[in-house]
Symmetry: D2
Subunit: 382 residues, 4 copies
């Protein structure tokens, strides 16, 4: 079996999780090629060296560009903040490397357009690219998509999606890069809202065509770090709320915040259709609630499907029913699909075009917010 | 103990529930006056006669105006569709009767203004009036209000409120008065959204100052009744979504629909503050979820408070802990407070001014919806 | 429509709840006869007089025997402690009155046998009798019985039933009649366990044939009341656990306690069969969980049936879906069935023979507990 | 950092899960020694060779004894059926290898006694041993133990523990080794009940002193495999129920079954004390319910603690709050503690003596079951 050499850029939270997935994927799933963890790239020599040893990478480098010229590297996995996605991804594609890029695809629509164009050109040369919307690979949500696609919900009327966290509850929590527009692009909108938008479009297999939105920043100044009195301005949104229309007529409400006390990673989505409904909360990630409105009224009810059966997506490779999975497994599933697509020379999904579509929706939300929340069409073209 | 003679107008769903509450309230609560169920009023002689006997009213009448001239009637309880609220309420107040009026207060802001003015004039003569926002009297929600008032949630950041039903799921369900604008005023907005708006303003003790909204009608034509092929136009909204800002800075998302398959009476509200959160779903009406963010992280968690303790609002009069209450009890609690206020010569709450405030918010939602969902200030004045 | 005169004996907790049900049943359900609340009986003249006025009884009496000779009394409803059930019930039956008797039927098997014999003799004269196992009339549990009877669970393998309360958690809680064997017969066993045994036999339509059990008393002495240092011995069980075999081969585990901190009225039952399962918790009394094992593994799951649909037992007479019921409604349902049986000259269920069967099971538990928990057959005969 | 060479025996379900844990533990936790996956042992040469490559073991062998003589093997991890535990474990200890042995420790008390004796002798030579009761390492359950130890529950009154699965629901499911007494020792009792007993004793830090139990086999004959008409006898129990007394006075009810339709890995435990309660269900393994009875009645309630905070056991090494863990992580935690104990020359827990105590309880259940469920003291001594 051919080896598939991987270079990972970034070793903070996402880099750690991706490393665990790279170590695991070939041990659990049957893959057409054999991933090899060739090199971990970072900015600080010491830190990346230590991380590489800890996370299981054969080599390390403080220059991601060096990975692009190696023949034993076939994949570049990008786990850096959004402001460097475009440069790394386009360079890697140019160099003929398959690319997995963390979400959001970019910090602006312009960058995302360029990336999607580059990905399309690369695709024509057989180079694959994918955006890391990992929640699509929660088995319960993959199952949800299947149920919608099978028509089990009928015509979709409503989507309501929330991504609720509470890590900014403390006004003294420090000003990290995630709170700076020049690094992160946006706040809850791009970090959390991007997942909601992708997930909703994925579940419905439909696109948001117009939005009406609002962003807000509750705490405008934060300490620059521990042990200092100096503060700096928060330049991203703390929270966003928007409503949306889908091409097929469904209505959507969306909300993302870092101030929902007690909600830790509360990615919640509910879909109502003419024939049934679905509900999901990531904090109980192994469960999908499904209501089948075609059943007798006397026995109809939301079913708690424990998505751990062999017949559920990705589950045949894992453990017996009821032996639940966790957050990291969504990344292992993502790699399983990405590596399989590379090996089988097919296009993985979500591709950069899907990432661009999400970006366009987020952009429309920001434009609406800047214009008295007027209904704003999502930008078209590619 | 003095008698308090009651005339009830209307004997459909709300009339039935109010009757049960009138029969019960004096048997359970200590009241300063003794309610007497004097007369039930309706439009059709036969129907009202039969209903009065069934529901426990001493007399019946097909002319509500006749009740206004009776000396043994002190209270008029209005359970008719919204298009007759203004006339009945203002006539009753004029005649010196205390008035309990079902929500929404009226079908238009103009009517609601007139009603609130009449109520204020009557109040100066010692005549009481109240709007039937019964959900304020769910013990779990009364408790929620108390917790917010005590500062247990800190500064409020978010309210998300949904009222989800599914009784219009079938496109062949007939065109009742609730789907006709001239009778009902609006659809999900006035029927369900009114409860959400009142509840949110009640829980936060704050007012919505501006909104941005949307209304939609999924099924535009419906059969005029069973056994006919003729159809008529649905002239109210099937669903509404709106976002809001409160005077104190909180953000709100609201949604009301009659197309949420599987949600039967899903009035759900969640409040997030800087020190804690609350969550509630009427389908589990005896439970309040409360998160106290000031606790140790290791033992913090949403508590399921079973609001059936003697220390919970209204509960001392009922059963031992865990012997849960139901929907109808909220109406009994409403009457307990209304009758007590009359007996003690105080102003019951929510008064017509509160009903008007709700009406103004709903009106702003409709105006926003008609203007590309622009942010729209809630009309001021009284 | 003929009147059905009722005398109620006892006006503590159960008397209050039965009164509410008597006031309500004819207002909600179509009945073949018209209940009239003739007389409330108690021991203390003042107390019963006050209670009768409050609870809506026309007359009051401190001598229950006086009710038995009245022509306008057709029903005697017994809400006294267990030590007086036998005398009152047998006298009433002898006097030709229909009898509704609170559970447990009696404080001993001998009494229960005599009562069941008397009821059988009375039945032959057209006199009806019933035991107040109100939980059979929870709509979700009536539905559960139907699902089992329809074979939706297949062959039953397991029943696990718990009745968990916590009102004795405080060792300084006073020594009431419920903690004295001469009044109450037993403690958690007769008060709570009786409900479990009846419910299990009802749901399975099967009888417990042998048991193996244990009873325990955690706090042996308690204050005689508030404001006294004197204490007295607790002479009943605080908790009981027993396992059981049913005639049809199912296994059962049962537990009842007054020391389960945080469980307020936690009557929980779960049934597992070869084709499905059911689960119920009274604290969420409007919900039944149902698992259909014949469905596809990919979409099978416990359904939360909100038992508030018109198609659910007793619900057509009440409110729209999702407008939930409470504890007291189970008593209204009980009266609906009792009064209907009287009017239609049929035998209501559960009859005294069913009450006796429960008593025999409780007796076998006590005998097993006294004999090193040996397997003990449930006493036979009637 | 010194290497710690590991030999794993067995590569079925448990071997797969242990392999994933061995691959992961050093990547996530700071360990005093560095685990090396030296050799995988099995019975069939081809199968073990293929498994070793897949699971990440450097070498493979069809003779576990060969591992005992290798200097580069310091740990033997036993994942075989129970009938071989004693031989492998005692040989390994004899050879000076640290031993991790899957539960149940052995198929009989006699074997378990010998193993515990061998482990004690080895301990005196610095050789460590541990039994694989992985559920102790669910963070929510580790937290539960802490809360009990801190006195947050007060004096413990009740434990109710169930382990519910449904994989034998189909009477045509084949006769595997788990259904044969000579391989598995017992059925639900040893496979599932062993976890319950260990968990209860762990949570309470107390020992079961006497039991009263029952075992049953619902389906006595099963097909020998797919594609054959031949059947064989099931020689283990399908289900068991037992009640227990703990040394400290608590009462316990226990149930284990493979016939609870819809329950997939339903390990559930509830503990009630004089000051609070705990509840847990493995199907929602990241959640612990905790009731603090010392709080105000108005705000007391079962809290859903999402055990994913940095302050929760094992969590600091993993992901941010709300990014939930799964089944396999309990094994990673187990290795973290086992390897740390080896490196720090301390005794890991649960040791073989704890495994023996579980075995003695299971044995007492079987003896009680064979003697009309009489109360049976748990065998004493070591």
């Amino acid at each position: 079996m051919n080896a598939l050499g991987v270079a990972l850029v970034g070793h903070a939270f996402m880099g750690v999780v991706h490393s665990q997935a790279w170590r695991t994927v070939g041990r659990v799933f049957d893959l057409p090629v054999r991933p090899e963890m060739v090199v971990l790239c970072g900015r600080r020599k010491d830190a990346v060296h230590h991380a590489a040893a800890r996370l299981g990478w054969r080599e390390d480098s403080d220059d991601w560009k060096s990975a692009l010229v190696r023949d034993d590297v076939h994949v570049v996995d990008i786990c850096t903040p959004g402001d460097s996605h475009a440069e790394i991804a386009m360079s890697a594609l140019e160099a003929g490397k398959h690319v997995l890029c963390e979400k959001p695809l970019a910090n602006s629509v312009a960058e995302a357009v360029a990336m999607a164009d580059a990905a399309e050109r690369a695709r024509q040369r057989g180079i694959r690219s994918m955006v890391g919307f990992n929640y699509r690979r929660v088995p319960a949500l993959s199952l949800a998509r299947t149920l919608v696609a099978q028509g089990r919900l009928g015509r979709i009327r409503h989507v309501r999606a929330q991504y609720l966290q509470d890590w900014l509850l403390d006004p003294q929590a420090p000003l990290t890069w995630r709170l700076q527009a020049e690094r992160a692009g946006s706040g809850a909108l791009g970090d959390l809202g991007a997942h909601l938008v992708d997930l909703a479009q994925f579940l419905l297999d439909d696109e948001i065509t117009s939005v009406c939105g609002l962003v807000d920043t509750f705490v405008a100044e934060r300490p620059l770090g521990a042990g200092t009195d100096r503060t700096g301005p928060v330049t991203v949104d703390d929270a966003t709320m928007f409503t949306a229309r889908f091409g097929g007529g469904a209505l959507g409400t969306f909300e993302a915040t870092r101030y929902a006390a007690g909600r830790k990673n509360g990615l919640r989505v509910e879909v109502n259709g003419s024939a049934g409904s679905l509900a999901f909360d990531f904090e109980s990630m192994n469960e999908l609630s499904f209501y089948d409105a075609t059943e007798d009224a006397a026995t109809a009810g939301f079913r708690r499907i424990l998505a751990t059966e062999a017949d559920h997506p990705y589950l045949r490779a894992w453990y017996p029913p009821g032996h639940v999975l966790g957050y990291e497994h969504t990344f292992t599933h993502q790699l399983r699909d990405f590596v399989t697509a590379i090996g089988e020379r097919t296009s993985p999904s979500p591709d950069f075009a899907a990432g661009l579509r999400v970006q366009r929706v987020l952009d429309a939300v920001q434009r609406s917010a800047a214009d008295h929340s007027r209904w704003t069409p999502v930008g078209g073209g590619r």
